[in-house]
């Protein structure tokens, strides 16, 4: 297995995530797509650490932090989306467009 295999996997995952963000209308789904992007990041980080920088643990540390941050982010975002649901009875982001222009 070469580095670029992993990189391609990660890139594909990232692109899927981006696609999800762009294509989904449901806030939860968008959030999940973002998670996908962050997973791509972690895979990449670990791969770089393993292939290019084996002596140090920078990639792994990045991964740990990203996972933590992602968890916090999901928690926070869910809370906010919950408010959206409370106020508008939907989690569809199409509804959240009163401000524009």
């Amino acid at each position: 297995m070469e580095l670029y295999h992993v990189e391609l996997l990660s890139a594909a995952l990232f692109a899927l995530g981006v696609y999800g963000v762009l294509a989904r209308r449901n806030a939860i789904m968008i959030l999940m797509a973002v998670e996908l992007m962050l997973n791509a990041v972690t895979i990449n980080a670990v791969a770089y650490a393993a292939f290019l920088d084996p002596g140090r643990l920078v990639g792994q540390v990045i991964t740990v932090f990203v996972i933590t941050v992602a968890a916090a982010e999901v928690g926070l975002a869910m809370a906010i989306i919950l408010r959206l649901y409370r106020v508008r009875a939907t989690a569809n982001v199409d509804e959240a467009d009163t401000m524009r222009g």
């Binding site: 981006v18 762009l22 199409d94 467009d97 524009r100 222009g101």
Partner: protein
């Protein structure tokens, strides 16, 4: 006394300042200040004249003097000074102007007595006298121009004296703007000479001219350009239209400003810069032609006008053109001589006309007749003046007219006969219209409604009679009375053309005969009634209509102003608003705002669109980078 010459224009100027600032508080003093100052100036003139005669062993080759000179402005290499130039030409003018101004002010005491703006009249009158005197004494073209413009503005103010009459307001405007057009030429000519010679000083400029430093084109150009100013001020064709309208002003104004003094400033200017005309045949020919055209046209119009002052105005035009003819023919002597005598005679006539309208409240000669019965002195004065201007011997006007005709006779071929014919014809017409004027106003039957008309008071009569006398006997100045004074030509001359009095009897006889004929015909027409003017007019109806409508020149000008100039104004104003402003100025603003309106649509309010924007932004950055590498 020569060093005090600067006082001559200054005194009236001071009087003006006094009247403008304090006139309202000291109304009684204003006329005294005005007349007093001009009287002192008049007296000073004699001292200066005497000094000049004494200082310069007469005749003298260098017939000018600088008396006083101050630095007026220094900028860069231009050093402008104010000085005075006193020579026979300016002395002649000084005498005429001070005398006329004094006489007419005395006349105005009574003529203008009931005007509420009496002080203002005397103030402007004083300013006029000051500027006119400064004009004739100026030693440089700039000072001359300054005084020239001031004279013009005084004329404007005096014509518009009855400013609440629309016609007066319009006439004043017309006069100023018309002369202003000529002044453009004058100023350009002066500037041209400054650029060429680096100075406005007449003496230096003439020296350069004599030394041949100026190219022929410059000489002709400068002469013609300055001539434009002269014909504007002297109301020569094609700038003649303002003068008849200028009669809207009070009569003393017409007398002083628009016949005796201001309008001859143009003639004076030509005389002053005569070396240029001497040096340029083209310029002389232009001058001659303009004079001829104006003389013929104006004389024709004088024949058909019916307003007393307008007839006089057109006669003034004719005489001014006559002076121009003389100058164009190369005789400063004749020109100045006619200027002087015309001044006296015309002052007489205008004062007489003023007296007539003052006494009878009429201005149209068809409403007059037989007035000699109620105003005999005026009739006497007016009669002598008319005969003099009509060129009947032995009055002064005959001699000056004769001098002019003689000068024209001396023009070189091939133009000699053309202009001589013109001069003689005009001489005949002068007699015709003067006869018509005098006879139809004072002789014949007195109309019943004019019986209450009354003779003017002494303050009006006295100046009138003085001018009458001067005009009647002034012709004698032409003769060589003493060894020291060999005639007017020994006193006033251009360059070294000093010449003694030498009449050409053929010319004199011809012109005298024409004058007699003219007066005779009018006698038949207006006194005895044996010649029916109606039938003559009927025979030449189209010509009469053309002339009575002043050759439609006013209409052409009016059309030009309304249809060309004002339309241009409207058009430019419109372009300025519609294009420069609405497109050029508002355009970018509108475009910016429109782009704002369009661009804000990008901001759709949808999260996924915003994310798409970010992705596209990223792609753009990456691609741009890729492409740049």
């Amino acid at each position: 006394m020569m060093e005090l010459a600067w006082l001559i224009p200054s005194l009236p100027a001071i009087a003006f300042a006094f009247m403008v600032t304090l006139g309202k508080r000291l109304p009684n003093w204003s006329a005294i200040a005005a007349t007093g100052s001009i009287a002192v100036s008049f007296a000073l003139f004699f001292f200066v004249f005497a000094d000049w005669l004494g200082a310069k062993s007469f005749p003298h080759p260098e017939n000018y003097t600088f008396v006083y000179s101050i630095d007026w402005l220094r900028a860069g290499d231009a050093i402008l000074t104010w000085g005075m130039w006193i020579d026979p030409i300016s002395l002649t003018m000084l005498g005429l102007v001070t005398a006329a101004a004094l006489g007419i002010q005395v006349y105005s005491w009574s003529y203008m007595a009931h005007e509420p703006r009496f002080t203002w009249f005397f103030a402007v009158h004083s300013l006029f006298a000051a500027s006119m005197l400064a004009l004739v004494m100026a030693d440089n073209l700039l000072l001359l121009y300054i005084a020239w413009e001031l004279v013009g503005i005084c004329s404007y103010l005096l014509i518009g004296f009855f400013y609440d009459r629309r016609s007066a307001a319009e006439a004043a405007k017309k006069a100023f703007i018309t002369t202003r057009v000529g002044d453009v030429g004058l100023l350009i000519g002066i500037l041209l000479l400054f650029v060429e010679t680096g100075t406005f000083e007449l003496s230096t400029i003439f020296a350069a001219l004599a030394a041949g430093d100026l190219s022929e084109g410059i000489v002709t150009g400068a002469a013609v350009l300055m001539l434009l100013g002269a014909i504007g001020k002297s109301a020569q064709f094609p700038f003649h239209v303002w003068l008849p309208d200028a009669m809207e002003g009070p009569t003393p104004v017409s007398a002083l400003v628009h016949s005796a003094t201001m309008v001859v400033a143009g003639v004076y200017l030509v005389a002053r810069i005569f070396p240029f005309f001497e040096a340029s045949d083209t310029a002389s020919l232009v001058l001659l032609s303009l004079g001829a055209v104006t003389a013929m046209g104006a004389a024709a119009m004088a024949l058909v006008m019916t307003d007393i002052k307008r007839v006089l105005a057109y006669s003034t035009l004719t005489d001014l053109a006559f002076m121009m003819l003389a100058l164009g023919a190369g005789s400063v002597t004749a020109g100045m001589f006619h200027l002087l005598l015309h001044g006296f005679a015309k002052a007489t006539l205008f004062l007489g006309a003023g007296s007539v309208s003052h006494g009878s409240d009429k201005t149209d000669i068809r409403d007059m007749g037989g007035l000699r019965r109620v105003m005999p002195w005026t009739a006497l004065a007016f009669g002598i003046g008319a005969l003099s201007l009509g060129g009947l011997p032995p009055f002064g006007g005959f001699f000056s007219k004769d001098e002019v005709t003689l000068a024209v006779f001396l023009i070189e071929e091939p133009y000699r006969w053309i202009f001589l014919t013109v001069a003689l014809t005009v001489g005949f017409m002068k007699a015709l219209y003067m006869g018509r004027l005098f006879f139809s106003v004072f002789l014949g039957r007195l109309k019943p409604e004019n019986e209450h008309a009354h003779e003017a008071g002494p303050a009006m009569l006295a100046p009138m009679l003085v001018f009458t006398t001067l005009g009647a006997v002034g012709g004698l100045l032409a003769f060589n009375w003493t060894d020291g004074y060999q005639g007017f030509g020994y006193f006033v001359f251009a360059g070294d053309h000093q010449e003694a009095f030498h009449p050409n009897w053929w010319i004199a006889a011809a012109s005298a005969a024409l004058a007699v004929a003219g007066f005779g015909i009018t006698w038949l027409a207006y006194v005895t009634g044996s010649l029916r003017t109606d039938s003559i007019i009927a025979k030449v109806r189209p010509v009469h209509t053309l002339v009575a409508n002043k050759f439609y020149v006013d209409e052409v000008y009016q059309w030009g102003i309304d249809q060309v100039m004002l339309r241009a104004g409207n058009a430019v104003a419109w372009v300025d608003r519609a294009f420069v402003n609405d497109i050029g100025v508002n355009g970018p603003g509108i475009v910016t705002e429109k782009s704002g309106t369009k661009l804000r649509l990008l901001q759709s309010g949808k999260i996924y669109n915003y994310a798409l924007g970010m992705v596209l932004g990223f792609l753009a950055v990456a691609v741009a980078w890729w492409w740049a590498l």
